[in-house]
């Protein structure tokens, strides 16, 4: 056995005992109510104005946050869990197998934190990271503008330096939950004379600042998870600039890689969801044996197989990524494939429901049917938000395959 192999074997032993320890802790600390299936309504987002539908949600969040397990791989000095990527996978596995709910949904954890760890000053890390881990500050993302969608770098929101403050004016769109968030990480143009990628900066903005208005946008699903946000001469302290002025695009791209990894991963997270074949059996029959609609059955199998392959590809990528190395351009693949697959599964689900999948509201439809219809409509945005599928294809072609411009 080579030296590397024996090191790997020792690590495997360590992981096994870690697994046992994690499991025991989860069994002891995760309230029984937090081990039940979860709807979108049961999500905990934290923040200055947290919403807890059940007191155990707070208990569970506080216990996980105390161990840093809301951000398992972040350094302990900023409140994180200090786990290796392998240990973090073990934690995820064990939570999944025990049916533990995710204690916190957070753009701070998923998107902002990793880039703060990489690009922010020590002072900024100390100020912003621990409250993210504890779920005390809810963050939203100020990237897109009405005139800057896929061509994000053409953004126009202006931040002009005035003494120790930046003065921000502009119009952001698709800011997730801006109306319920405490802070925004925002891309602004600090140098209008520079080439478009070079004049952008990454600014942290307190949403309580005077001059900010957030207005929800109603989507085809009937929900309003996104807002338009208007900035009218908002004063932002200069110390809230991350990195230097003009390097915002580098930070923004890095954050997008984390976001893409996240969006593809979120598709993996429907603990409450009945399988496609299970629903097909209920709606189409027969009670046992092969499903009655052979063509539909084949498409269900394809979706299930692709889901499995996507899941183990995420795992392969996680194993390949050594500690400290963030997602690379292959995160575009996960974003692309994960979202296209999710759309396919959502569409298939509605098709399986037949007429019962066509209801909007009211009598004649079960709550679960209506939820599946809305989830299908919501899923149409998956391949648009966080960079369209077409943008991901461009990134793969250029950065991974090296095809010329």
């Amino acid at each position: 056995m080579s030296h590397a192999d024996s090191a790997r074997a020792a690590q495997a032993d360590g992981l096994a005992s870690f697994r046992a320890e994690v499991r025991a802790w989860l069994v002891e600390n995760c309230p029984a109510t937090m081990r039940t299936p979860m709807n979108e309504d049961d999500e905990v987002w934290g923040g200055r104005r947290p919403v807890f539908d059940h007191p155990d949600q707070k208990v569970w969040l506080d216990r996980m946050a105390a161990r840093g397990w809301t951000a398992p791989t972040w350094p302990r000095e900023y409140g994180g869990g200090g786990l290796s990527p392998e240990q973090a996978l073990v934690l995820t596995d064990e939570m999944h197998s025990l049916g533990c709910r995710r204690p916190l949904k957070s753009f701070g954890v998923w998107m902002l934190g990793p880039v703060l760890l990489e690009f922010a000053s020590e002072e900024q890390k100390r100020e912003h990271i621990p409250p993210i881990v504890r779920g005390e500050i809810r963050w939203c993302q100020g990237y897109s503008e009405p005139g800057a969608g896929s061509d994000l770098a053409s953004l126009a929101a202006r931040a002009a330096l005035d003494g120790d403050d930046y003065v921000v004016s502009g119009h952001k769109i698709w800011t997730s939950h801006a109306d319920r968030s405490d802070w925004m990480f925002c891309l602004v143009r600090t140098d209008p004379s520079a080439p478009k990628h070079a004049g952008i900066s990454f600014l942290l903005i307190d949403m309580a600042s005077p001059g900010i208005t957030a207005r929800p946008i109603r989507l085809i699903s009937g929900n309003s998870p996104f807002c338009e946000t208007f900035f009218d001469e908002v004063r932002v302290p200069r110390k809230n600039l991350v990195g230097h002025a003009g390097v915002g695009w580098t930070i923004a791209k890095r954050l997008l890689q984390h976001e893409r990894a996240l969006i593809s991963e979120m598709r993996d997270n429907f603990p409450d969801e009945e399988t496609l074949e299970g629903v097909a059996r209920r709606y189409l029959g027969p009670a046992e044996g092969p499903l009655s609609d052979a063509a539909l059955r084949d498409r269900i199998v394809q979706a299930n197989m692709d889901f499995y392959c996507n899941k183990i590809t995420l795992r392969r990528s996680a194993e390949a990524a050594e500690a400290g190395r963030g997602p690379g351009p292959e995160s575009s693949m996960f974003k692309l494939y994960g979202t296209e697959l999710n759309k396919r599964r959502r569409e298939l689900m509605v098709e399986i429901l037949g007429y019962q999948g066509l209801g909007w509201e009211g009598e004649g439809f079960a709550a679960g049917e209506l939820a599946r219809t809305r989830a299908w409509l919501r899923s149409r945005a998956n391949s648009i938000e966080g960079g369209t599928s077409e943008i991901q294809l461009n990134i793969i072609a250029k950065r991974v395959l090296g095809l010329p411009d």
Binding site: A4, L291, M305, Y308, C309, N310, A320, M333, L403, P404
Partner: protein, 377 residues
């Protein structure tokens, strides 16, 4: 489960790659084809591969092998896929040796497996009889007599059947055709009486044969009489996973060649790889290939760990690599344009291999149906 190669695995991969790249590039297969070689592969090359330890990779040391697993054998197979080299790996190692390891007695294994590892014994596994893969659709009869069995029937698409030293034949000792029960595996030396072999020239220039048995005496069986399906299932799962590893190598090679072409071929004064219509299709293929790679690695490890989900994972792997191999070779021909349909360019050889590999051990549709059955829907 670890997807990251160990140092030992990395070294095996390098050995196979440099050996095959030097001794058996795609031109090797082309030369055998053009010479209408009677054997269809190079026995010398096969023995050299044996001396490098590539054949007995996943065979226990007690029988002359290296005692490693499919994770390692898969690396060799993938490199073979890259050069399309025709060898008896599928017939002799994936099918034949798996049948012996799955159901053979220690005596049988001691008698046959060292020759497999040494490259001196070719085995052929005769299962199919109809126009498509159907492992239980067996009409060939095994009738007991005073010395064992008498075998009668006709087998088709018997890989390397034209040069095999021994046949392992799936025959029916009880039940009706298509029954899973009642199958018996017979071990028959190729020089036994009543055997006639017709070589079939396949589109991929690989080697197969139609084999007819007429009251052929079969003294030895592998496994228990009537319970052959258990061995057959295990053999086919292993062989399917191994074939997927080979297919993956071919997929990666043909894709690499196509991307290189997109970067160099100029039309309208620019490389054609700068056109978004081609970029997006190439990027889609990249995703499909990455997913194929994951499932093949997962399936190879499922074999080694004897995981309970092996059958399902083998079906996922075969469904996906079949679809991906066909898609990537179709696109490769199209993206190469006119030169892509010439015999001179190697791309067409990959296209032909894709079609045969897709059918071997069941198409994507076959495996999707099987996957659903395994999961009770």
């Amino acid at each position: 489960m670890s997807f990251v190669l160990t140092e030992e695995q990395e070294s095996i991969r390098r050995t196979a790659k440099s050996f095959l790249g030097e001794r058996a590039p795609v031109a090797h297969q082309r030369a055998l084809r053009d010479a209408a070689d009677a054997v269809g592969f190079s026995r010398d090359l096969w023995k050299e591969m044996a001396s490098l330890g590539l054949l007995g990779m996943a065979i226990p040391e007690a029988y002359g092998g290296a005692g490693l697993g499919f994770a390692e054998l898969g690396l060799v197979l993938a490199e073979c896929g890259r050069t399309l080299v025709p060898t008896p790996l599928v017939s002799t190692v994936l099918l034949g040796a798996s049948a012996l390891l799955g159901g053979g007695s220690p005596e049988q294994n001691r008698a046959l497996l060292p020759g497999v590892c040494a490259g001196t014994r070719i085995l052929a596994f005769a299962h199919d009889e109809g126009p498509r893969f159907a492992p239980y659709a067996v009409a060939a009869k095994a009738e007991p007599d005073e010395n064992g069995f008498r075998l009668s029937g006709e087998k088709t698409f018997v890989l390397d059947g034209h040069v095999a030293d021994d046949f392992i034949v799936v025959a029916r000792s009880a039940g009706a055709p298509a029954d899973r029960a009642g199958l018996t595996l017979l071990l028959v030396p190729a020089d036994a009486p009543g055997i006639s072999v017709t070589r079939t020239h396949m589109v991929d220039s690989r080697n197969a044969a139609r084999v007819r048995f007429a009251a052929t005496p079969a003294r030895e069986i592998i496994g228990r009489p009537g319970a052959g399906a258990d061995v057959v299932d295990a053999v086919l799962d292993r062989a399917t996973v191994g074939l997927c590893a080979e297919m993956l190598g071919s997929i990666e090679e043909v894709f690499d060649r196509t991307i290189a072409y997109l970067k160099t071929r100029k039309q309208f004064g620019v490389p054609i790889g700068s056109f978004q219509a081609l970029k997006h299709r190439a990027a889609h293929l990249f995703c499909e290939i990455e997913l194929s790679k994951s499932i093949v690695l997962d399936a190879l490890r499922a074999v080694d760990a004897a995981r309970p989900d092996l059958a399902a994972v083998a079906s996922v792997a075969k469904a996906r690599t079949s679809d991906t191999f066909v898609a990537v070779t179709n696109e490769a021909v199209q993206m190469h344009g006119g030169v892509g349909v010439t015999d001179e360019l190697d791309i067409g050889l990959f296209l032909k291999r894709a079609r045969v590999a897709e059918m071997t051990f069941g198409t994507a549709a076959y495996h999707r149906n099987r996957f659903a059955q395994l999961h009770g829907y």
